[in-house]
Symmetry: D4
Subunit: 224 residues, 8 copies
């Protein structure tokens, strides 16, 4: 069977061989954990031999606790991610598009995840379909990419248009941007799931991490 | 106050001055009525002096009952509408777009409503955003119209793109076309309500009649 | 194709020809943007040659930042809108009705949008259907208008009654006023979508901006 | 304690003293029962000494089975109710209003329930708010009633208007009439629950029986 | 037609004859209004000749503003209601039951509404069905009442049990008490709408005011 | 590790050691399978050495196919279950209550599952809370049982009352009985999940099989 | 009938014989109560002769008020529970599993409930199915337990896997851990209700108390 | 810009260069089209020079009409797909897993889509997590694949487990298999969107076609 060692911290049970099995290490989801728990998890992962330990959904107190323990830690404020250790060199190209400026933090989480996964990334913001020429203008960037991640809130219509322009896989990330009938991202989620163009795959609302992991797997598949 | 006579049929109470008040006569919604009730309503409306009586959501038995009573009645099978009397001459221009072939019956109801309202209509089908060049190709038709009605199911993304191209009002009709997360038209409805381009107004799912009435009012406003 | 220049700000990509294409310029949606980003967007729009730049959903810190940069900026506190530059002269007449006092801020956003679009506006508040004579009393105002915008929370029943009284198009804005089964505006939204009177078109919950843009397009259609 | 005898039929356990406790006997809900089960329940109730046994949601085969057993049974086809035994004499006055013709069957169930409960009833159909003068025209009937039952589908706006005109209690019955965003009666239900006029009480969608029982209790309270 | 004078305050349009038409005066819903607006509405109502003006959903700053203007005003902190003027003498008897202690504030709003409506009230708290003997123990109180109001959150099961014990009308008020699948009162609302015992009528979640108005109407019907 | 042999049928992969691991064999869920597939699964299970093979959600054509292959098969029409082989002797006592007659088929599935699991069962039907004395009357049966299964649709209030009377575990089964706001069992499901009495555990809507398996595990725990 | 004394506190009516009837005393649900009310309820329960009084959902001010009154009270901060009096000795074994670290507080409520119920408990955290070997590794603990409680948020998939490994009853507790399409625990709740393995019973989202009471009843059944 | 010819059929507007742009030709979605329309679309696509034309959601009458026109057409009954022309040779390897036998038709649509896309496919059915050893047993097949498609209804838990075992991208297809709280596939959809293991991407409920297109793009990316 696949490698499957576990490091016990009492309150947590780290899946230290996850990178060996799945290509992505166990990453600490800091929401719902105390700063102390997040730091302990990162330390546990580093202690198990991983060169880079990494947390998402890091708020300010947790970021401070991490920097306190590891002064060299890199905290990406827009993406709310923290990294302890060295980022791998980047190969491959993923294009990350946002429909609007407010989708930026989720796109930043995608980009941070790709960086930590050793995948190159180009980000183009604010190309929503209300000015569809902005979408058409990025066609060369799309053609140049191994995969495309599209981040959009409100009507979530951008992935449908992009997927009709390319043979690249489109990873669609609905965001909770919007109000009223946007229902915290539900509208964008349903739009993306029912996209009239095939080739669109969807992750959870605001899940930039999941989209980044998936895009990295596509790039790696292309390199296998 | 506005004119407000009523014709009593026992089971119904016809608002015979509605055309005088609102520009649109009371139209018989045949769903949930027996063929006999629909025929009686049409007869009541004709008897009150209207030159054209009209029913929507007409199924086959009701269509037969109408033709039986008024052999000259016109039944539009695709639109499921029946008309007794003379259609008015058409003025103005409304463009009706569909995202896909399956949206056709709803677009037909829009067109029939416009015809009965004395408004001209041009219909262009199957210009979904999965091939966005098809949308761009109808830009001259859009520029030529007094208003645009966009009919779309599944992701409902077409109105967002159209509204970004024009200063015409866009009346958006979500349809129940699709499956799964389309949730009988809910996905398209939410998409249209949260369209990132302003200038989009929305009617109920599959409500071609309401979209037609609204578009006719815009054309009449332009003629006042 | 339509004019489609873009101004790149790094985090944003302004659609500076949107007014030329659609009659409404790109308007800055300040929710989810930092005060600095909103100011930068307004500056970018002004720099592209627009005479009036404009933001919605402006909170207090953003309003302060705007006034700091442009001391002559006009901030409408009730509407949460800010304007930099000169408002156009007003033509046409839109009637804006509210069902209750608590719907005021959304009606104010409608009015501010009309003012920035160069359209005249008359606002009558608190004419809910629980005292239906208040609705009947505004019939002369309705007859006088090019279009009617109806703003209502809770049961959202006002547009159904208004649309039965007039041949003007009724733009219905559900609001999040209410509690419990109002479900943050969902009840009013569904009521308006299923209005038993045709001629009602609906925008997103609390979307005063969208209703204002749509009403302005109707007035302009009437002037074409 | 209240009277509480039970008649055992094996598959059912009849609450034969319910009329003594609550003023309304156990009534057989025929949906989900075989014709034989419904007949057995009616026979059990008659055998326990009740003078009138009664079933709701009676379909054609069940109606036939009832008539077969009791040739004098009265079946109200519109209301889908069947009665075995003598109806009590009627006292009091309940006004039953419908918004549209399609709401008729539910109003018929209200009326049948009132008849079986010994309460007088006047029914006025098709007074929806799209022609609000039709509502105002029934004001004298409202003033004359002990209570008002309002039956409405689609937007469900009628109870809000009626309750603003009277000091009578308004029992509101949402119906499943409509399509799309009517969501099988959900839109009307939410509208009625959030009615801007107080004095509106709501029952389940299509629950004419419950509304009739409640209205009968109000009339009886007025007679105590 | 019914009396229908209106008092204009600019931001509000008071329906000053509502008490004459419906038995209940216009009551100020203070949520979503500024303290100044609520005070102005109360002053407007008092100025129109009503002897008692009254507001619900009063928070602390609004309560302070009311007391500041009218030092004799009565503020019921549990019910979040404020009264300016004299309460009418009480006649009739309404029983108000709660399922749990946390439902208290809503029951207090029912009681305050009854007091302001001149109706007597007896309140018995914490008789949830998890100890059904507590329900059975209040049977004498139920038999003594003109109507029963049942306030319950979580499973909302209490009205079903109470309605099976009595011929009094049961007004059911779902509350937002609970967590998880209680979905802010939705679970209790659905339970009450589908109560297996007839004679249950439902108001909006947490709507103690509406339940009080309705119960007062029942008592007045009994006194007509 | 636990025993885990698998029998391959091509379209299915039978988990033939599931009884050894979990105490319940793999049972064939016939909905969504052809009669041939169900027969093949049953044959595969019998061939793997189980003495009793068993299917749920069996419709008429599947029942016929089973009887055709195994003339001695027992088909329980009310429960829609089919058994091939010998039922085990019964030990222990589970009490199965229904709120109404229409809940019978789900209770029958519970009973059939208990019989196939070798557990004794007593079923008492139609003890809904609208006549709460019927519930109190079964208290001796409850005290006599190892566990109680409560089957209820509509308001789903019965488990709350039962759980307040006993120290036995209450397994609650919501059913899809009801209409309108019952939302196909959703109302009963939410009621049961939010039951104000602890000791209630819930299974899926109409899942008599799951309730039976769970109750059998409780009885077996009591016998360990 | 079962014992059913009640202690009246004015705002509350304590069901002091609930432990005698159901094996679990009335436990004070502190959410929605003031600290004073919670203290009064605890005092009332102690005064009625119970040796241990107990509150859940205790926040910091309430905890302080309890310690102020009873300096020996035990407050479990992770579980948000407070106990006044002596915990009973523990018998039996319940295994409590969590899918992730963030599910800890709910698991702590399960454990505290078991402790107060006199049942032994072993807790193993962070064995989510993303590293399924962690689940397989606890098989010996499962085999050793009288019942298993599984606490999981996000996808809620853990109970399905556990129930396929054992003949113990699995009590599943969905938690509100997660974001976006987790919908505050709804996703996990639906997953657990539709678990493909039988033997899973579900409680409300975050309801550690209910799961603990249920597990204690299973252990007691095993000891009867 | 990308190639974008269009073939006009009147009721449809074929996007004949979609394969050149996106790697997948326009495929005819036969649901909601008449057999004649589907045949006309296929003929139009063949006439535009594509070597293989292809329709999904083909029912029996449409299949008959296709075979009537093209006797050599291949109809895959399980997948409800029809192909006219020659299938391309297969390269690459996609593993398609189902959780249960009832998920078969959706998996068949995945397989048919892969075949038409020139991608190799291995299908393993009925490896649900209730017998998790069945999942572990396919680990070698997973390691051998370029990508994995997981098809599951009910609890939809399988993708979470699979994604924790591999570094391959997991395309998750929720199906409408199940009842009650499965809500026509909603439960499985939410489970997959919130999968605790990253690397899971989701398509619409029952959307085997979309999953197949996406998997084919991954394989092609691996071959670029």
């Amino acid at each position: 069977m696949n490698p499957q060692r576990t490091a016990h911290l009492g309150f947590a049970r780290l899946d230290v061989d996850r990178a060996a099995r799945t290509g992505t290490p166990e990453v600490v989801y800091a929401a719902g954990k105390t700063p102390e728990q997040t730091v302990a998890c990162l330390a546990g992962l580093l202690g198990s031999g991983t060169g880079l330990a990494w947390a998402t959904r890091v708020d300010a107190p947790t970021a401070a606790a991490i920097r306190d323990r590891w002064p060299d830690a890199v905290v990406d404020g827009e993406a709310r991610c923290a990294f302890v250790g060295d980022l791998p060199p980047a190969t491959g190209r993923v294009l990350v598009l946002t429909a609007g400026t407010s989708d930026g933090p989720v796109a930043a989480e995608v980009a941070a995840t790709l960086a930590a996964s050793g995948v190159g990334c180009r980000r183009v913001d604010d190309v929503g379909v209300a000015g569809v020429h902005r979408v058409l203008a990025v066609a060369p960037d799309i053609a140049d990419a191994d995969a495309v991640v599209v981040v959009a809130g409100m009507d979530g219509a951008l992935p449908s248009v992009v997927a009709g322009l390319t043979d690249r896989l489109v990873v669609a990330v609905p965001t909770s941007v919007g109000y009223g009938a946007a229902f915290e991202g539900l509208a964008a989620l349903l739009t993306m799931l029912t996209a009239c163009a095939p080739g669109v795959l969807v992750v959870n609302i605001d899940n930039g991490f999941g989209a980044g992991v998936a895009a990295a797997r596509i790039v790696r598949a292309a390199q296998r």
